[in-house]
């Protein structure tokens, strides 16, 4: 079972998301609250696979909470669910290390798609991946370029392949089929890539891949 926690100060919104989520068989909503600090307490003794996070909240805002969750456990995926307009949020996601973004104004059908995409691909954005990456590159360019020494042989050929196929939008299962390895192995590779490149989310990995010329923008 895939464990999900929800934080949103809008009671009805939270409850209705749970309602929709519970109709997906592989998903279990284990925790929901309107107060981020309560989730942090919960995470001290429990773990979840995915947190759905509202951004504008009175007690603790979503981005602060997101950073705290990632400090606690980088394996927890975070999908921000908000009313904010998407392009701004991409920048903020970069600052907070969230894995994806879903706009509350989107259709209910795409919500299920978003959650499933988080499970299978580690990321979800309301707009196309290449647009997200372009925004991300712009954002990175405005930030002081960290003097990270680029190490050519940091990643193994296999790991580079994983980046390539992930950037194409393939799920873990599809990549596994493509490379004749198990899904578990793909997941392990992904984790190693994130650790090696010290990236917090998949978009950063893609941006890294572009900088390293492992992939080109046309591959997306």
């Amino acid at each position: 079972m895939f464990k999900i926690a929800l934080v949103d100060d809008h009671e009805l919104f939270r409850k209705s998301l749970i309602f929709v989520l519970e109709q997906i068989e592989t998903i279990e909503v284990v925790f929901d609250t309107n107060d981020g600090t309560l989730l942090l307490q919960y995470l001290q003794n429990n773990t979840v696979d995915l947190v759905l996070l509202d951004i504008q909240m009175p007690l603790m805002d979503g981005f602060t909470l997101c950073k705290k969750i990632k400090q606690l456990n980088t394996d927890i995926k975070i999908l921000t669910v908000s009313q904010l307009t998407t392009k701004e949020s991409i920048h903020q996601i970069f600052e907070s290390g969230a894995n994806g973004f879903f706009s509350k104004n989107s259709s209910t059908d795409s919500f299920k798609e978003a959650v499933l995409s988080m499970i299978e691909k580690d990321y979800y954005f309301d707009i196309s991946l290449s647009d997200v990456v372009k925004e991300a590159m712009l954002w990175k360019a405005t930030q002081n370029n960290d003097d990270q020494q680029i190490n050519k042989d940091l990643l193994s050929p296999r790991e580079k392949e994983i980046i390539f196929w992930s950037a194409k939008g393939l799920t873990c299962q599809q990549i596994a089929d493509q490379l004749f390895i198990s899904k578990r192995t793909v997941e392990t590779h992904r984790k190693t890539i994130m650790d090696k490149t010290s990236c917090l989310n998949f978009i950063e990995v893609v941006v890294y891949g572009l900088k390293e010329r492992i992939i080109t923008l046309d591959d997306l």
């Binding site: 009805l12 209705s16 307009t85 509350k104 919500f111």
Partner: protein
């Protein structure tokens, strides 16, 4: 003889002093009047600016309330209905839920349009040109007219107040064109130099003499346009022939 001479001198001196006093008084009155007028004008300008400013703030507040409050609630209802719909098997109930969903979608869209009209979100974030683009797109989808937007601001920087005033007055002008002019074509051209910005709007509607209409009756819409132009220190002139109307708005920097 000496006495006559003395009287003469006293008379001349007296007249001179009197004249001096009269002119001095006259000068003082005129000076004061001028000063008073200037003060009044400044006060009127300040009042206008404050009125427009508070209108803007109020619009902004309502737009934010709509976006954060009402839209949030509507979105929550949308997801609730979606959850209900999948759980309900009875066709009759399902049809009702779908009807609700359609109405809700319509309402959400209406609220979005209202909130955007109140305060175009792009204006502050991206500037005048992108906000106008979205406005033109909106008009394009809601009318049969052909709209055209050309040119750019380049390096000409506008303050938040100027951006807002220009956007509103362009909106008001175009709304008038649609309402009274039966236009099928509107063209907006932005030309900028370092110290001068010119916005030219042309339509193909019924000829309309802006200024004589404004003189004849200070109607709400036209008054609005003139107030906004005044508040940013811009000028507007009109060039028209029997097939079209052209307005030129100019903003100069010192």
């Amino acid at each position: 003889m000496d006495v006559v001479k003395d009287i003469k001198i006293a008379f001349i001196l007296g007249t001179a002093i009197m004249l001096f006093l009269v002119f001095g008084l006259l000068f003082l009155v005129l000076f004061y009047q001028n000063h008073f007028m200037k003060m009044k004008r400044n006060e009127a300008n300040l009042l206008l600016k404050t009125a427009l400013e508070s209108e803007k703030n109020e619009r902004e507040r309502i737009a934010i309330d709509l976006h954060d409050g009402v839209q949030g609630d509507l979105n929550a209802l949308k997801f609730t209905l979606a959850g209900l719909e999948t759980g309900v098997l009875d066709e009759k109930f399902k049809a009702h839920i779908q009807l609700l969903q359609n109405t809700l979608q319509q309402t959400t869209e209406n609220v979005r349009v209202i909130s955007q009209k109140l305060m175009p979100p792009l204006l502050d974030q991206k500037g005048l040109r992108p906000a106008l683009e979205v406005y033109f797109e909106f008009l394009q989808t809601h009318s049969d007219a052909k709209l055209d937007l050309k040119g750019d601001l380049d390096d000409f920087e506008l303050s938040s107040h100027e951006k807002y005033a220009l956007f509103r007055l362009i909106q008001e002008l175009i709304q008038n064109m649609f309402k009274h002019g039966q236009v099928t074509m509107v063209q907006l051209m932005i030309e900028s130099q370092t110290k001068e910005l010119q916005i030219k709007i042309t339509d193909n509607g019924i000829p309309f003499d802006f200024f004589s209409t404004f003189e004849a009756n200070h109607s709400g819409g036209l008054q609005n346009i003139m107030s906004r132009i005044k508040s940013i220190g811009a000028t507007m002139k009109q060039l028209s022939d029997d097939k079209s109307n052209t307005y030129i708005i100019q903003l100069k920097r010192k």
